[in-house]
Symmetry: C2
Subunit: 337 residues, 2 copies
């Protein structure tokens, strides 16, 4: 058996003793093919190990059968980003069973904003999942312009109308976290918040503020972090310097909470007795801190799977409404608050 070039549809047709178009129909869905023909083709396909040539098919169907996943590039310092891994899982789980190809586009933080947008607009993919919601990337506008089917994981920045997105209810989540601190008796509650050019960062700050205002507590102890452990530690140091009397902290991500925890330890503060701490995400690291972190569960995998399902619907031509799908977070008991 000479396997110089892969078998083509012609080979299959010849082998099955039918015409090429019959073979094609049998392979794609089997509409209007007799059982015998179908069987013969199936047989030939198996015998030859035939796989349709994607390029040829793509050329005529005008679809590429591939979707892009746009993600922020993993951080240089802290390679470990559980969110990234969760998104990856959600998307791959979401397209399992389809024959969609997943093309990965890592959005570098420092690069010219046009590259990704240009790529998405150039017809190389049928749709996109965007999990890179930094304001500066400006993918939103580019996407509306090219009309590429796309679903955001996390509320896109700026004008939401016309965009599909799924998200966890970050405001509700940060309320849960902050309320927990209030309920356990904390009266001086600070927050290490996320980047304010990401909707998650903004919303998690807002939930904290609203909860404290409702409780009649001050809302001045705020420092901005970057969702990483190192950034969280830096922020915590600044926070404690400015407000030594803190008895509670809400960290807008578990990674940052980890950093906060280290700083608290190094300053001799007991957790939760001196300072109580609540994080956000519950993507595997909360159980591994000491003490175990009380946190808010963020269903990233489910969220991303939903986004993928929505995208598949769009690709199938379904008239999917742009109502966002918002997932509910919930508090996860730990020992830190």
């Amino acid at each position: 058996m000479t396997l110089g070039t892969p078998p083509t549809l012609d080979d299959v047709a010849r082998e099955a003793r039918v015409s090429r178009s019959t073979a094609s129909r049998a392979i794609n869905g089997g509409e209007r093919v007799s059982p015998e023909a179908q069987a013969a083709v199936d047989d030939a396909v198996a015998r030859l190990g035939y796989t349709p040539n994607r390029a040829a098919r793509s050329l005529v169907t005008r679809r590429t059968d591939s979707i892009a996943l746009v993600m922020p590039e993993p951080d240089t310092l802290m390679l470990t980003d559980p969110f990234l891994a969760g998104v990856l899982r959600g998307v791959t789980d979401g397209i399992a069973g389809t024959d969609l190809q997943l093309v990965l586009l890592l959005n570098r933080l420092d690069e010219a904003p046009g590259r990704i947008a240009r790529y998405l607009g150039s017809g190389h993919v049928d749709g996109a999942i965007i999990a890179s919601a930094h304001e500066r990337h400006q993918l939103e506008d580019a996407l509306t312009r090219t009309r590429l089917p796309a679903v955001f994981v996390g509320r896109p920045f700026g004008d939401v109308s016309g965009h599909h997105f799924v998200d966890v209810d970050n405001i509700a989540g940060s309320r849960l976290a902050t309320q927990r601190l209030v309920d356990r008796g904390c009266r001086r509650i600070g927050t290490v918040t996320g980047p304010q050019d990401m909707s998650a960062g903004i919303d998690r700050l807002r939930g904290w503020r609203e909860t404290l205002e409702a409780a009649g507590l001050p809302t001045d102890a705020v420092v901005t972090g970057d969702f990483t452990a190192v950034g969280g530690a830096d922020a915590a140091a600044r926070l404690l310097d400015a407000h030594p009397d803190l008895d509670g902290v809400f960290a807008a991500s578990d990674l940052m909470a980890e950093g906060v925890l280290r700083v608290l330890h190094s300053r001799g503060k007991r957790v939760p007795d001196d300072v109580a701490l609540v994080g956000f995400d519950d993507l595997g690291i909360a159980q591994h801190t000491n003490p175990r972190l009380t946190t808010v569960h963020n269903p990233v995998v489910a969220t991303t799977m939903a986004a993928t399902a929505t995208l598949l619907g769009l690709l199938a031509g379904a008239p999917v409404p742009t109502e966002p799908q918002i997932f509910a977070p919930y508090l996860v008991e730990g020992e830190s608050a």
Copy 2:
């Protein structure tokens, strides 16, 4: 401007007042085109925003201009896998500047071994980076059979001949780690080793054993982990149950070392005074444990970039020898040993 369908090469040619083949040549490398024609085509391309149709090009060049990255699926329990993030970075950095598409293939642990192999063999990609070196995946044979250019990150399992791979010197690394324990006076040294169906797991165990044998110390305190924190904790518990007198532990990954650390703490062992601990990987988590982990640096990003460079060479038709590129690890000082 009606942008119903994207501009084609014909449009460019018309706009530039040249024939289609001249336009084609001007776009691909500019061989045998007059400066005027070249300029006219460049201009037309810019004006029209032309992007070559990948499918059409692929059909005639018989290349797909995309490569696959095969990785193990991130673990369900511990989403955080720094190795994964490092590999991702290395590959994307490695193809930056080329117009190669990166197709992501996540290798599920429980799935039929044929899926990935079939995909790789079906001509959908021009080459592959394989960072999923579990024995059971059996990609090695499939790859030799299909003759798809491929480079492994981490020594492939089984017969290495004919395969390209890059790796860190895991044996040397684990020797460094173990020797450190010996040098600081440990006499009863155990190891939590990695999966024994991965070359990294095997090699890191071997370096530990050889070092102890050379030092005349016993090599019976071995338990197998799975490179995760939870697995490391389980393994550590078993290890300490069987060998309560341990005064040193080499964990074959930092994630596992983290688990070991927790178990040691919970059993009231001081680190490093009662039990010294050395990890492996240094991918961001070693600095964040308490005490900071002494570990062995594993240059994953560099390794993966080298693999990608090799693959690019293969794709360019260069006669790349299959001599492996082995990177040297080095010890990173921490407080745990």
